[in-house]
């Protein structure tokens, strides 16, 4: 499949792939989110610290300029060295004045002053531009943040002074570290919970079902008949649809397979029977010829008359049987034409009227009006009706009803002409049902049937691209035959195909007749 996706080509279980697909992005997402929020927090906290220092400087400015008397200002700044700064995380404060164009410390809460070069660098920004400046450094091996803010007393002093407030960053860093740990713990917990749920959900909702389906497909592929309708996934989603589609496919494949087997068997038996019949045909002709000649020679009441008549009758039976076999096994040159199915049925059923009168039989016809015509051979269509009717009468014994119905029905975008022949006979035993279309299979007493009737019906229907279904129970048997209603184009194609086949495969009937 896709060559580029290395993971897809690896022999890794679907579960593991799905787990990786969920876990890896989630993990990356949480790491990125953590890094971003940490950076954000760091920036925000530093900003907060800086703003706090700037606010303290403003407060200092207001206290000095607005609230304290001159004497109190003097007392305040003189004692600044002893001032224990109660403000949290403030390590110290330094007051600078501008002397000789540079910042000179004048009052300090402690002796540890900032690196003069930094003051020099920031002089312009703080004093000329009037903006606060902050920088980070280390003091006593601890990280500190210095915020240098100009104090101008509202412009009422000729030169601004500058207040540097030194904040401890240790606490801030600890706070960030604690937050990072918390965040990591929460992320991990969230990740585990999400992963657990995702793994469960994906496995439960998708993977398990795909794996089960896959096992079923593999088993079916290996010929193990494990799947039953109960194992079809009932969920109304894509996997369920896939499972149901597979079940339909499996069913179709099995029935097609069975049909194919049946068809092959029929074909093989047909070939064999055809060969045998062809060889029997000539000796039969001789037997019948001599029987007829011998009958001509013996007079009425001759003791040989009855045996010769029997030979002639039975030879005729053999000849008919041989003819059936030949029809069954060979592609005979049949002319296709547009047939009115109802007409064909009517003319065929008329042959059975005499038979119906002999017993207590009723022939019921329900023929649909205005049926489209069927493309086929009238003799063969009649043969279908004859065979089915014969079977029906045999099954009914002395009385019963033979019903012949025609109708038009549509399914799967195709219209069919339906011919249903039903009887009220003994029914087909269930064990015989799979074999009824096999040649020479019969449930009739020996000498009564050849076992070729339904085989012929099946063969003819197949040649007409039709289908045949049977349902039977004691007291009722119905054969339902469907012929497709062809479009003009299909009809032409079918005729052309037939002609081509006839040309490529000339029937041997002529040769048989000549033999």
């Amino acid at each position: 499949m896709t060559e580029g996706h290395w993971l897809l080509n690896k022999p890794v279980k679907l579960q593991l792939k799905a787990a990786l697909a969920v876990v890896v992005p989630l993990f990356l997402l949480s790491v990125v989110s953590m890094v971003l929020s940490l950076r954000n927090l760091d920036k925000t906290l530093r900003e907060q610290y800086t703003n706090r220092a700037i606010a303290s400087a403003r407060f200092f400015e207001i206290i000095l300029g607005e609230y304290l008397d001159l004497s109190q200002v003097v007392a305040f700044v003189s004692n600044i060295g002893q001032l224990k700064l109660a403000l949290p995380h403030i390590q110290g404060a330094h007051l600078y004045a501008v002397r000789n164009g540079q910042l000179t410390p004048i009052y300090s809460t402690d002796k540890r002053l900032t690196n003069p070069s930094l003051l020099y660098q920031n002089y312009n920004e703080v004093i000329s531009q009037g903006n606060p400046v902050s920088w980070e450094s280390r003091r006593d091996n601890e990280p500190v943040l210095s915020v240098l803010t100009p104090i101008r007393f509202g412009g009422r002093t000729p030169q601004p002074i500058a207040l540097e407030i030194v904040l401890e960053l240790k606490h801030l860093n600890q706070e960030i570290q604690r937050f990072a740990l918390q965040q990591a713990a929460f992320s991990l917990l969230g990740l585990l919970v999400t992963m657990g749920f995702a793994a469960w959900a994906i496995n439960h909702w998708v993977i398990r079902r795909i794996v089960r389906l896959s096992e079923q497909v593999v088993a079916f592929g290996q010929g193990t008949p494990t799947q039953t309708a109960a194992m079809v996934d009932p969920v109304a989603d894509e996997v369920g649809e896939l499972s149901r589609a597979f079940e339909r496919m499996r069913y179709d494949l099995r029935s097609t397979h069975l049909k194919l087997l049946q068809s092959e068997k029929l074909s093989a038996v047909g070939q064999l029977a055809g060969g045998v019949a062809h060889e029997i045909n000539n000796p039969l002709g001789v037997i019948m010829g001599f029987a007829e000649s011998a009958l001509g020679c013996v007079g009425k009441g001759d003791p040989l008359e009855m045996p010769l008549q029997s030979i002639q009758r039975e030879a005729m039976r053999c000849k008919n049987l041989v003819q059936d076999l030949l029809t069954f096994s060979r592609v005979s040159r049949v002319e296709l034409e547009q047939i009115d199915l109802n007409e064909a049925i009517e003319s065929t059923l008329s042959l059975f009227r005499g038979q119906a009168k002999m017993g207590q039989f009723e022939i019921r016809k329900e023929l649909a009006l205005h049926l489209p015509r069927v493309l086929g051979n009238p003799n063969q269509i009649q043969q279908i009706v004859v065979n089915l009717a014969n079977n029906a009468f045999d099954a009914m014994g002395r009385q019963g009803t033979l019903a012949v119905k025609t109708s038009l029905l549509s399914d799967n975008d195709r219209t069919w002409i339906c011919l249903a022949v039903s009887d009220t006979g003994s029914g087909i035993p269930p064990e015989a049902m799979p074999r009824i279309f096999e040649p020479f299979f019969t449930t009739k007493p020996v000498g009564k049937g050849t076992g070729l009737g339904l085989g012929l019906v099946h063969e003819i229907i197949q040649k007409h691209s039709g289908t045949i279904d049977v349902q039977s129970r004691p007291g009722f048997t119905e054969f339902c035959i469907k012929f497709p209603v062809l479009t003009d184009q299909e009809r032409e194609e079918r005729i052309a195909e037939y002609q081509m086949r006839s040309l490529a495969n000339p029937p041997k009937e002529g040769r048989a007749a000549n033999d």
Binding site: L64, G65, D69, L70, S71, V73, V74, V77, L95, A97, V98, R99, I106, F153, R156, T157, P158, Q159, I161
Partner: protein, 153 residues
């Protein structure tokens, strides 16, 4: 000490009577006196010299460090700053804030009203100002300059 307080009190009350007797007089002159101890290095000082001393511009006389005394907040202080130094109390404060931070010079020391006379008598370059009519007669005091200042707000 008891006599001096008494004198100051009686003078103050007589002034009060006078000012209330003539309410139409818009800005009657009241006199301030700049006082120092008898060891003070100058006999007299000009108005300009006093201004410079209070603004921190003149800090030594004859090698002696001059230490001007100031009040925290009262009427005599306002009157003195306005008429002698030429500043409001706020302007004076910011002048000294700048001086304090820029030059490291400490502003005049503020003392309690009643301690001015006592402090100047200690000598050592101290000088202060009081109302003339409230100044005690004391041989240890030297009057450096008497100033007419307009009364009123």
């Amino acid at each position: 000490m008891g006599i001096r307080v008494l004198i100051v009190a009686s003078v103050a009350s007589s002034r009060l009577l006078v000012s209330s007797a003539s309410p139409t007089d818009a800005s009657p002159k009241r006199q301030l006196v700049v006082v120092a101890g008898k060891e003070f290095p100058a006999q007299q000082l000009s108005r300009e010299e006093i201004r410079n001393i209070y603004l921190g511009k003149k800090r030594f006389i004859n090698g002696v460090r001059i230490r001007p005394l100031d009040y925290k907040r009262n009427e005599v202080r306002d009157r003195f700053l306005r008429s002698v130094v030429g500043m409001t109390s706020q302007e004076f404060k910011f002048h000294w804030l700048a001086k304090l931070f820029q030059d490291g010079v400490t502003p005049p020391e503020a003392v309690e009203d009643q301690h001015v006379i006592q402090r100047v008598k200690e000598g050592g370059g101290f000088l202060g100002y009081v109302w003339l009519d409230e100044a005690p007669t004391d041989p240890n005091l030297r009057l450096l300059l008497i100033l007419n200042v307009p009364e009123g707000p």
